[in-house]
């Protein structure tokens, strides 16, 4: 072997690993305490205790999840609640992001601060805040009563609408941030050109701005959907049992029934939803990379 060939081999080896060895400790740590536990959890859910209490291989938990009307309802509700929250976040978040990027000017920094600040207050505190607002003798009811609009307090808590309000409140900043990031990248000359050519402002928005910002909507939607899918605190504190979703059921299974195998199976269904979202997100990012 010539010296040149040896150098070439060394170079190609370096290119392959390219000095990636410093990632090893982190990778090993996550392998042991992230990937392995998730995989074992997947296996665990396939073993159901038989009459003698011995775990035997069985798809029982999954069969129950996908055939029993109650669990199918829970699954459907999980997806439906997350979808509804996502759609409302898009409808509310888009105008805010648009204003932030196009009209906020020097207020932009303050707007970002106000958007991010709630994300850093305890989620329990924010949910408790909605309790304070929506309770029988809460802010909303006492305001409406003192204005004479209602005679007795409305029942606003322990209701699906309270859950949706709470979810949207927690998740809408992610949507605004995702849409704003994409809107910022749109060349405003395209919009100017459309208006010069006689398009109305509405038409310019509909045919130029909106299509170009679809990527931001999609990214935000995936993030919001995924986070909504995994949350149970909002359902627990604002729903009062009126909205039972998969994570809430896992929480109850774990704390009350202590059926860990079944909780694991439900967790895996949740994981499948997350992986689908993650896959969609990766594809979006790839496409972005290809375009720019």
């Amino acid at each position: 072997m010539t010296a040149a060939a040896a150098t070439a081999i060394r170079r190609s080896r370096r290119a392959l690993g390219a000095g990636l060895w410093p990632v090893l400790p982190a990778m090993i740590f996550l392998l042991l305490f992230f990937l392995l536990p998730l995989a074992e959890n997947g296996l665990q859910s396939l073993y159901v205790p038989d009459a003698a209490g011995e775990p035997v291989f069985s798809l029982d938990y999954y069969v129950r999840l996908f055939t029993d009307g109650y669990y199918l309802g829970v699954l459907g509700r999980t997806i439906w609640v997350s979808l509804l929250a996502t759609i409302i976040c898009i409808l509310i978040g888009y105008p805010v992001a648009f204003f932030m990027v196009r009209h906020a000017g020097r207020w932009n920094g303050l707007m970002i601060f106000l958007l991010v600040a709630p994300l850093l207050t305890s989620i329990i505190m924010r949910t408790f805040g909605w309790n304070v607002i929506l309770a029988r003798n809460g802010v909303l009811n006492s305001t409406l009563m003192s204005l004479g609009l209602i005679e007795r307090p409305l029942r606003l808590l322990q209701d699906p609408s309270a859950v949706i309000i709470g979810l949207v409140h927690v998740l809408v900043p992610f949507m605004v941030i995702s849409i704003a990031a994409v809107l910022k990248g749109i060349d405003t000359r395209l919009e100017e050109a459309a208006e010069l050519l006689g398009a109305s402002r509405w038409r310019t928005f509909r045919e130029i701005t909106l299509p170009l910002s679809l990527d931001g909507i999609a990214t935000g939607a995936i993030v919001v959907f995924m986070l909504a899918n995994g949350s149970f605190l909002t359902m627990l504190l604002l729903g009062g049992g009126s909205v039972v979703t998969l994570p809430l059921l896992i929480y109850q299974q774990f704390l009350l029934v202590q059926n860990l195998g079944f909780a694991a199976a439900m967790g895996n269904v949740l994981l499948v939803l997350a992986v689908i979202s993650l896959f969609l997100q990766l594809r979006l990012i790839r496409r972005d990379g290809g375009a720019s």
């Binding site: 290119a15 690993g17 390219a18 000095g19 990636l20 060895w21 990632v23 400790p25 982190a26 990778m27 740590f29 996550l30 305490f33 992230f34 536990p37 074992e40 959890n41 105008p95 805010v96 204003f99 009209h103 601060f113 106000l114 991010v116 600040a117 994300l119 850093l120 207050t121 305890s122 329990i124 505190m125 924010r126 408790f128 304070v132 607002i133 003798n137 809460g138 802010v139 006492s142 305001t143 409140h169 941030i177 995702s178 990031a181 402002r201 990214t219 993030v223 995994g230 504190l237 896992i250 929480y251 774990f254 860990l260 967790g267 949740l270 994981l271 997350a274 997100q281 990766l282 990012i285």
Partner: protein, 274 residues
């Protein structure tokens, strides 16, 4: 100016004024729950009722009397600090290698390192409880530390990769050309340049850890109760403004941290979704 001219001007600006009104309502919606919790925390009433008629610090005194809330805050801060340090020890070398790597493996590695962000916490909690019980750690500070470090690593990696990519290679190359050894270059050039990135990544990790209910839930015991777990059980048993007071204390800690991040690297790293 004629009436029609000013009417036309108003008509032209109307969409933007409507948009502004919408944005103001949006921020009222976003901030209202927080503002009301803070108001309630300074109230004097035994029950949570509006309007707040008299103000006092009695619920903050209550925090000092009823120890579990403050104790768990202290426990949570220790846990958050320790997991952030551990996450930095694992995450910073990985981030530095990833930021400059052109290897095809780098994509896979960064997907794995960032993946804990995308997994439902409640599932990770169950899975880790199984695993850690199986290897004899069970419900302990060590278990919580491991769980929180898993979730903290992505925040450190993401921030440090972004900062390190942003500074380019020029400084390090200049140091090397001027005769600095690799070690000197790292200590005197690289580390100071990425210091702010490490710091803010760790701060994010601390804030996320402080608020992480879904993960800590599974490792709760009298000795290992984190703040969110104690807050939740307090809320479910007694619904009084003490919970507002501890929430306000936590918020102040978070806001100070947020201002520190703003001062060091800015908030933009927080906002990038992946």
């Amino acid at each position: 100016m004629t009436a029609t001219a000013s009417w036309r001007r108003l008509e032209r600006r109307l969409p933007i004024l409507l948009l502004l009104a919408f944005v103001l309502i949006f921020f009222a919606f976003l901030l209202a729950p927080i503002v009301f919790v803070v108001l309630v925390s300074f109230g004097d009433s035994e029950i949570i009722a509006f309007p707040v008629t008299s103000y006092s610090l009695r619920w903050y005194h209550r925090l000092l009397e009823y120890r579990p809330l403050l104790d768990s805050l202290w426990f949570s801060l220790k846990l958050a600090g320790a997991s952030a340090v551990l996450a930095a020890l694992f995450g910073v070398p990985a981030a530095l290698a990833l930021a400059r790597s052109r290897s095809g493996l780098a994509d896979l590695v960064s997907t794995v390192l960032l993946a804990p962000l995308s997994i439902p916490m409640i599932l990770l909690g169950i899975a880790l409880l199984y695993k850690l019980s199986a290897i004899g750690l069970g419900i302990s500070f060590t278990s919580l530390l491991i769980a929180h470090t898993v979730v903290s690593i992505p925040y450190v990696v993401r921030t440090v990769v972004a900062v390190y990519r942003g500074i380019g290679r020029n400084y390090e190359e200049a140091a090397a050309i001027l005769g600095a050894s690799r070690r000197q270059t790292f200590t005197y050039v690289t580390l100071p340049l990425i210091g702010s990135g490490i710091f803010s990544g760790m701060l994010f990790a601390v804030l996320i850890s402080l608020d992480n209910l879904s993960l800590s839930l599974f490792f709760g015991s009298a000795q290992t109760n984190t703040l969110p777990v104690v807050m939740l059980s307090y809320l479910q048993n007694q619904f009084d403004p003490a919970i507002a007071a501890i929430g306000t204390v936590q918020m102040i800690i978070a806001l100070v941290a947020l201002l520190l991040i703003e001062r060091t690297v800015g908030l933009k790293f927080m906002s990038s979704p992946s």
